[in-house]
């Protein structure tokens, strides 16, 4: 097994002290891989992602990112540690009072204060070019561009600080098939352009997960039901996995 980027050990989470959303997750995500986390709605995928980002604390168990147990970090240190991440949100989560270019410049202006403004703009334009966004949209507000362009901008912003870990939170949910394929290809291209970057995609788009991911982890009822390559899933005889795979592929 190659070097591990994200190590989750016996992760349990309850919000009310009674019902456990996560019931003991064990998962190792190799460095440089593209891993898809799949599962039915309400199985704890988003809660797990929030643990990886340190947005919520585990009830028990630990989450180690690049060898650091993030549960042990003080709030300020955790805030700084998050510079290792780039996140593409389901809604792109662009700042609606900033232009496309300003959105991508923003993390650089916050964290790379030593850089002159011209250099920041140069890097931001380079990232926008990388995700295939035409420069004519640079000075438009997010409300003035399409959903696909917003996703591209969100990805360019996530890439701005050259993060070691890229997280995609249900990037294709609610998109039409053409846009879904475009976003999937974008994720794949971004991953292949950035050797060494670990990508984690939370999705219930099984087709995309199997098409682009190196590894797939399926969650069910707060546990990892199966972790393996797409081939392992295709060959699996676990009933729930079969059901999920069959329905997911039929749906596509």
């Amino acid at each position: 097994m190659s070097e591990v980027a994200i190590q989750i050990t016996d992760l349990k989470k309850t919000f009310d002290g009674k019902d456990y959303v996560l019931k003991g997750i064990d998962l190792s995500i190799p460095k440089g891989s593209l891993t898809a986390i799949i599962g039915f709605s309400g199985t704890g995928k988003s809660v797990m992602l929030k643990h990886i980002l340190g947005l919520i604390k585990p009830t028990s168990g630990k989450v180690e990112i690049l060898g650091t147990d993030i549960g042990q970090l003080e709030p300020d240190a955790l805030t700084r540690f998050r510079c290792h991440f780039g996140v593409l949100f389901q809604s792109a989560a662009l700042f609606d009072d900033m232009t496309v270019l300003e959105n991508v410049c923003f993390p650089l202006l916050e964290h790379r204060r030593e850089l002159p403004r011209s250099k920041v703009v140069e890097i931001a334009k380079e990232k926008l070019k990388l995700v295939g966004l035409d420069p004519k949209h640079d000075h438009k507000l997010p409300s003035e561009i399409s959903g696909g362009m917003q996703k591209r901008t969100g990805l360019a912003r996530a890439l701005a600080l050259d993060p070691e870990i890229l997280l995609y939170d249900e990037p294709t949910t609610g998109l039409d098939p053409i846009l879904t394929e475009m976003v999937d290809n974008l994720i794949l291209e971004t991953h292949s352009h950035r050797k060494g970057t670990t990508s984690v995609m939370v999705s219930h788009d099984l087709y995309a997960a199997f098409r682009i991911a190196d590894y797939v982890a399926m969650l069910d009822a707060g546990r990892v039901l199966l972790w393996g390559t797409p081939d392992d899933f295709a060959k699996s005889d676990i009933e729930l996995v079969r059901k999920f795979v069959d329905k997911g592929m039929k749906h596509q």
Binding site: L55, D76, T79, R82, F106
Partner: protein, 268 residues
């Protein structure tokens, strides 16, 4: 049975209220302690001062002018009966600088800027923009909350001073120009009875009101749940609570200031 139910629900309400006050205090302290942290948020503070302060100048000017006019008419009509029209000027000046100036400025700015703060932060919350800032490694309380609170505290005394001044211009116009009271007497009586501490009292209150509406509205906006409905509720609850608190706090602050005057041996 009914009594038992009423006691239980009153107890739950009290616990809920105390918990919420505790949450708001923790929210405030965790936000304001970031004021000295790097990076400096001076540009954001100035940007919010422009919104809270500069953009409120028009509405404050208009409302204060008519407040001064209306108050002067009422006091003039009352004092005319007892033949004390010479005291209209100082009565209006004291009322405006100590009570109406800070309270009305607080209510107007809480409705305008406080509502906008709650709505803006609420929208950012439901659109995942606050989560995006969080995962970008940005201290969201330092970036979003602290500059708004500091800007409100700094702007409110300035806006109140403007309110006081324009209201007195209105009073002058009513008393000297319209009802033709003697200008020298009007000015002299104000100079005799209005002290700097009366104006400072109002400015101090207004800074507290700025703190209160900024904390309440940012707290409501920051903790918005749900979609558009949640944003509407957060804005509504933030503005209403701010207004109620401003009026209630005004009474307590007035008494607190009086106690201070007694303690240091100042009368009035």
């Amino acid at each position: 049975m009914f009594f038992h139910g009423a006691v239980k629900s009153a107890r739950n309400m009290l616990i809920g209220f105390v918990e919420e006050v505790g949450d708001i205090v923790l929210f405030f302290t965790s936000s304001i302690r970031t004021v000295t942290q790097k990076p400096s948020r001076a540009p954001e503070i100035i940007q919010h001062m422009e919104f809270i302060g500069n953009q409120s100048v028009g509405i404050i000017t208009l409302t204060s002018l008519f407040t001064g006019l209306a108050l002067s008419v009422q006091i003039y009509l009352g004092f005319k009966i007892v033949n004390m029209v010479n005291l209209v000027g100082p009565t209006v000046a004291l009322g405006i600088s100590r009570e109406l100036g800070p309270v009305l400025t607080g209510l107007i700015v809480a409705a305008r800027a406080g509502g906008a703060m709650a709505a803006r932060l609420g929208t950012m919350r439901v659109n995942e923009q606050i989560d995006a800032l969080d995962v970008m490694g940005i201290n969201v309380k330092q970036y979003l909350i602290m500059p708004r609170i500091v800007a409100a505290i700094l702007c409110m005394p300035l806006l109140t001073a403007l309110f006081d001044f324009i209201a007195m211009v209105g009073s002058y116009f009513m008393c000297v120009v319209l009802v033709e009271l003697d200008e020298a007497v009007f000015m002299q009586r104000i100079a005799d009875l209005l002290e700097v501490r009366h104006i400072m009292e109002g400015l101090f209150k207004s800074a507290v009101f700025g703190l209160v509406f900024a904390v309440v509205c940012t707290y409501r906006g920051f903790n918005t749940k749900g979609g558009a409905r949640g944003v509407g509720e957060a804005t509504n609850r933030g503005v209403v609570l701010s207004m109620v608190l401003i009026i209630v706090l005004d009474y307590f602050l007035t008494n607190l200031i009086r106690l201070y005057y007694v303690a240091v041996g100042i009368s009035g």
